[in-house]
Symmetry: C2
Subunit: 331 residues, 2 copies
């Protein structure tokens, strides 16, 4: 620490507060960066591990989530946050409020009274949220949620790019009649994925055909229904981008019931890469991954970095190429 | 409180410590029971809610689990525990250790240093556990886990009765050639469900046929494989009890591939009632429910009841009758 202080031309106290992440209001960003550069150059890292090993205790990061327990999505998000927290010598403690406001308030107050390092305010499906007032007494990061008031950093999936790349995968295979089965139309996943789909088609010089965009609600059922509608069109699509994997599974079943093959007769791309469904796709589904582990990791890193501004962090949703996309029939 | 104290012939202080659950070593069990009886008779209940509403804070119950985040089973268990805790004016905070011993130690120490009311030491699949030493400094209840040392109450599914009733459902429909596809053979779920299966057959006066008990590992794949083996027997079964729903789904697919109908040609019972799989069974699967919400509820109630002895609480696993069981073919 002495060497870092000398190299950055600050006191050891400043090194300590900068590297502990708690320098807001006590050191400028320029100074903080100088300290971090010096520390990194000299390979110095405050011995947090020794401290936590000695006491056997770690600091707490709280995660307040709305339906952690019952959502198939929460797993990797919590694991990503947990792994990052633990790596930085913190313990992640999760409260599932089940959407109960009184429980949420009590959870936040309880976390504050136990002096948590910060709170990950987490939604189980990507949505806009208003952070509870009390939570702002500590550091808050919104996870899978966008802070409508812009008071805290938010970490969300990049739905638009995900929808764009899903559609590109179908365009790249040669398709020009590409349908989309969307989710409830007002949530960010639906809005973003549709925007990405439209952008890709427009970039490829294809005219919009509203008949090819089917409403849905993310369920298996809406995949079945939408496929029946799409196949009844005068000029049916040769490829379908499904807004969720569940919907894609419905599409698989409806196509199979009609004796149509994937991708021989029609290509399918999903969205979510939900692991519990993965086994049920025959052939394996090409889909877009919601990067939950990475989102959790990023949010935990941000809650530990007191200097991070209240920005929206879009996390890339990669296309996972499997076997449900091929060239259009007859090509 | 005055009336309860008078009726039970103790001081108000004793009423308070008994009803707060913290009387161990400060009042006898007989006295405690007298106080509880008096309180219940007089309809008295300490005003914990007023206290928590006033401070906005609640006491913490810690849940330490080995793979909370990535298990499809954890949801309802955590929700059951959370709902009970909240009803009793506590907040449940969960740490997912991912099976990391150092993290588990740190989580326990951190919970102790924050004076949690108690710890639910939780396994994501039913197994035997050894409670970490440090945790015993507070009240511990094992959830979905059996404390091998018998130091704490344990709440586990009643696997034996579950296996028994699954098999009875098939016997009651008239089957006498009933196969079982088991899970990894040493875990309590496998041992218990098999024992229940054997007990039901033996009660029905049926001889054991070892060829009808197939090994498996709980996966979809082992359902497919075991069905192929079973159909190749000289005298194939007319009904199959599958050790897990995943395995039952594999069995469905293997039977469908052979052109056999459920329950027309063969009846199937599963185990777990895993909600993420429910949609994929055509016809809907008759299965045995793992009562996770009830287990979580019971464990939270036990952690709040300091007088509960270190017993094993077996929670009943009910058969959920749907459409995969019918009479044997030709009857």
């Amino acid at each position: 620490m002495h060497d870092v202080a000398a190299s950055a031309d600050v006191s050891q106290a400043v090194v300590s507060i900068v590297l502990s992440g708690s320098y807001a209001g006590r050191a400028s960003e320029t100074t903080a960066q100088r300290v971090r550069d010096a520390a990194s150059e000299l390979g110095y890292r405050p011995n947090l591990q020794a401290k936590s090993l000695k006491t056997g205790r770690t600091e707490i990061i709280g995660l307040v989530g709305d339906e952690v327990a019952t959502s198939p999505f929460s797993g990797m998000m919590i694991k990503g946050a947990q792994d990052r927290a633990w790596q930085e010598h913190h313990t992640l403690m999760t409260v599932d409020t089940g959407g109960d406001d009184a429980l949420e308030r009590a959870a936040v107050e309880t976390m504050l009274s136990h002096q948590v390092h910060g709170i990950l305010y987490t939604a189980m499906f990507h949505r806009e949220v208003k952070i509870p007032r009390a939570a702002l007494d500590t550091r808050v990061v919104c996870l899978n949620a966008r802070d409508v008031e812009g008071r805290a950093p938010s970490v969300v999936p990049d739905e638009v790019t995900g929808g764009y790349e899903a559609t590109r995968a179908l365009l790249d295979a040669g398709h020009t009649r590409i349908a989309m089965i969307n989710i409830h139309s007002t949530i960010p996943a639906a809005v973003g994925r549709l925007e990405g789909y439209r952008r890709a088609l427009s970039e490829a010089g294809l005219a919009r055909d509203p008949a090819l965009v089917r409403p849905g609600d993310g369920t298996h059922r809406s995949g079945v229904d939408a496929v029946e509608d799409l196949l009844a069109l005068p000029s049916p699509p040769t490829a379908i981008f499904c807004g969720t994997d569940r919907t894609a599974l419905g599409a698989y079943q409806a196509l199979s019931a009609k004796g149509l093959e994937i991708p021989g007769d029609i290509s399918i791309v999903g969205f979510d890469d939900q692991d519990v469904l993965r086994d049920f796709f025959q052939p394996p589904l090409t889909t877009v991954q919601l990067p939950f582990a990475e989102m959790g990791d990023r949010a935990a890193a941000l809650v530990l970095d007191a200097s991070a501004p209240a920005e929206v962090h879009l996390i890339h949703c990669p296309v996972i190429h499997r076997e449900s996309v091929g060239p259009p029939k007859g090509r």
